[in-house]
């Protein structure tokens, strides 16, 4: 049982904007994002940290935000799906998921994209088994992963092309504050 009313202040940079929020110590990062900051693009799909729908970046690394207490991100930078790109300026992964039909119901998609962004930041040229291994902690029930894997491979190629050529990708896989 909680100690009702006892709260802790958390100062966190979310999608580039500094925020200070008073939270119950038991509050999870995913609840902070969804309930306190209204960032509902990060989803909750399970209660055992199995599904990955809540994946966000903390200081540039993908984490399952249901497995992190809100108080743990005090002083950190968090990037969510809302911060990685927008409809007018899609991240290459967002664009590739759209082009390659890498989503159906869309519920796992934000977590899947954030997980894949973490992979591509570490490995810009992954082969298919590497992609499949990297997204193993994210469950999709709609696509059989076929088009998700295609999307991630396509985004990797687009980002490599952008890196090599004159054009810049519309957004980078790195969080804005790190």
């Amino acid at each position: 049982m909680s100690e009702e009313g006892a709260t802790v202040e958390v100062a966190v940079v979310v999608n580039g904007t500094p925020r200070t929020v008073a939270v119950e110590p038991r509050k999870l990062l995913v609840q902070l994002l969804r309930d306190d900051l209204g960032l509902t693009g990060t989803h909750i799909g399970c209660d055992t940290s199995q599904c990955g729908a809540c994946t966000v970046h903390v200081d540039g690394q993908a984490v399952k935000s249901c497995a992190v207490l809100a108080v743990q991100v005090d002083g950190s930078a968090v990037t969510t799906i809302e911060g990685i790109g927008s409809e007018g300026a899609l991240h290459p992964l967002q664009d590739a998921f759209w082009t390659n039909h890498g989503l159906q119901c869309g519920f796992c998609t934000p977590g899947m994209i954030m997980c894949a962004a973490d992979l591509l930041a570490r490995d810009p040229d992954p082969d298919e088994p590497t992609v499949r291994h990297a997204i193993e902690g994210n469950v999709c029930r709609c696509t059989g992963y076929h088009n998700i894997v295609r999307s991630v491979m396509a985004a990797a190629a687009a980002m490599r092309d952008a890196e090599a050529g004159t054009s810049q990708p519309t957004a980078t896989a790195q969080p804005s504050a790190s």
Binding site: G41, H43, Q94, C105, P110, V131, R141
Partner: protein, 812 residues
Amino acid sequence: MTLAANPLDTLGQPLKRKEDPRFITGTGRYLDDITLPGMTHLVVLRSPYAHARIRSINTSVAKTMPGVVAVYTGADTAEVNPLPCAWAAGGVENHLDTPRILTPDVARWTGDAVAAVVAETRAQAVDAAAAIDVDYEPLPVVVNAEEALKPGAPQLHENAPSNIEAQWSCGDAAGTAQAIGSAEVVVRQRIVNQRLIPNPMETRGSIGSFDAGTGEYTVWMTSQAPHVMRLLITAFVLGIPEHKMRCISPDVGGGFGSKIFLYHDMPLVAWISKQLGRPVKFVETRSENYQATTHGRDHITDIEVAGSRDGVITGLRVKTIANMGAYLSTIAPGIPTTLYGRLLSGAYRFPNIFCEVTNVYTNTAMVDAYRGAGRPEATYVVERAIDLFADEIGMDPAEVRRRNFIPPDAFPYDPKVLTGPTGLTLKYDSGNYAPALDRALEMAGYADQATAKAEAASRGKLLGFGLSSYIEICGVAPSKWIGLPGEGWGAGLWESANIRVHLTGKVVVTTGSQNHGQGHETTMAQIVGARLGIPVEDVLVEHSDTSGTPFGYGTYGSRSGAVGGIAAYNAAEKVRDKAKRLAAHMLEANPEDMEYDDGTAFVRGSPDRAKTIAEIALAASVGYDLPAGMEPFLDETAYYDPPNCTYPFGTHVAMVEVDRETGHVDLVRYIGVDDVGKKINPLVVDGQLHGGIAQGVGQALWEGAVYDDSGQLLSGTMMDYALPRASRLPSFELDETVTPSPVNPLGIKGAGEAGTIGSAAAVVNAVVDALSDFGIRHIDMPLTDQTVWRAMRVAEAGGAGGDVRGAAEGRA
């Protein structure tokens, strides 16, 4: 003209989906993303016992907990009717027992709702629920449906002796008995189709809001069928006028059948919102979804397949025990009866079929439609039977399939088991099964499998090829066939669409169908855009709100395209007809001489005498000059009741490697050649097939809902229920044949369930093929490492050929 050169081309084109931008940017709006002013939170206390009498419930402590607004028990909701069952098994006696919104006296499974706690926050409601003290008297439990039929088994419901809900049959008992009695070869096998958990990534939920000023309710719900839910909640459960409730499905994160049904929380949130005068939200946890939302499958089946040594099958007899769970979910009795027995001819010209089904209550979660709903179970029976028969006579299973296929000149084909109690016969619409088989075998390198198997053996692997030549019944269903007098479905199954062409030429389409990932907002726009010659970007598809869309039955049974899509097509035909009549008036031409193509109504033979749809819409909207008797505005509604179902088909080939030492099964290739008729959007169709295949593979290899003997769900979290993961699946290799359906003008059949229907049997057939040297002829799903390893070791010890029970794989 500003229109594209030929907008009709969008039919069949792989357009990127219109709905995707909101999902890829995190701006979709799912149920739990909705917050209303003054909203409270509901948490449900569920029975920890699978069967127990509730002696007393003490809520006094919970009511004083911080933030608690109200606590309710079954005593408080006693005046509320039980949930209805909308589909009793057709033509037979049914013993219907359905859940209450809170159970008042006896809990019958570990998800049964005992109390409801409403608090200012979800966390406070969880805390308070833990403080409710329930005094239970545990009762004997039965979880296995065959055990539940035995004398002395615990009885769940007074009106269902021996726990039997219904006994149903189809086909020709005498003819099949005669065929089996006189056959050269008869193969018998018991097969278990294990219980599954559907697992949409978004769990279920509902929000109730009552407006005291208007006396109207609004219920948001994660439903595949919001119009039907409104009818059931108002008229059947709460006894309030249907028009006083608005039901809305916001973005819905998958369903796979489990979100078709009426669940207790839907009327409960409406009821509570009126009691409190405040909105209330309920969202399941994942573990709660596993406990309390419907499961799928769970059949125990004895099959007998008879034929001659030249590979011709002459009879199939099937006896199935279907586990219904503790109560009946909304359409549960129809799944193992109509949607199962009537598909048992598969792709084959079996002259004699007889099927008996017994629906049984047990102390487990309710079982209802899960992707494919009865048809995967039937296909699994048929496709395993073919392989068992082929093994018995020593013939290539591909050749046995070929020898028994319904020939292409036999369509429309009457499989006899599709004839219901009214005598109304449905026939397979069209098909040509051998080319899909041939193509799939070619892609798999089937002819040279000996070489591939030898290569695998050199690496210590046992390579197996498994076939499944499935058919599906899609586009459900003609109302007069499936409805009450026939198959027992307590309503119709037509679908609706409305088209409004606004003054500026922009179009709003509403459909009674419901999008939860299938791409309706794109594919419906493609149909309407193509027929009206309007760019897809200018067509908005609205759905899933009972306010503003005509009544519709929703999305399931692979019916959105073949039924809902045709309603949209027919509404577009009405718009075209009116547009032609108005254009004739504008051009002072004879209406009979008008044609409509590419967004333009024109005089036949004089294409320069033409009006664009935008010009016609403007004229119709302002209404200054209309022909005598014509109403203003282009606004047309169509209700489409299909004359027949549609019958997609295909052949899938699974290639697996089994590790001789560990029993590990690796799905190395998966090939699907599907014929779903014409495709509205191949990108969307292929996505449906991919997802369906993965779910069937999941059943074959990993998934299983497992209860212990006391009714505790051992696979109670996502940690314990093994879902398909990316690392365990290959990319799928798909091809197609195209046999248009003659049932509808677009020639489409449906694809939502095809992958699941075909894939489980293909994978199991492949594993059994890989193990053929051991003399193993059948293993029950899921084919986990342990199960396969044990089967090999038992066979080596001389116990080959016996049944080996599957055990669901826990995720380490």
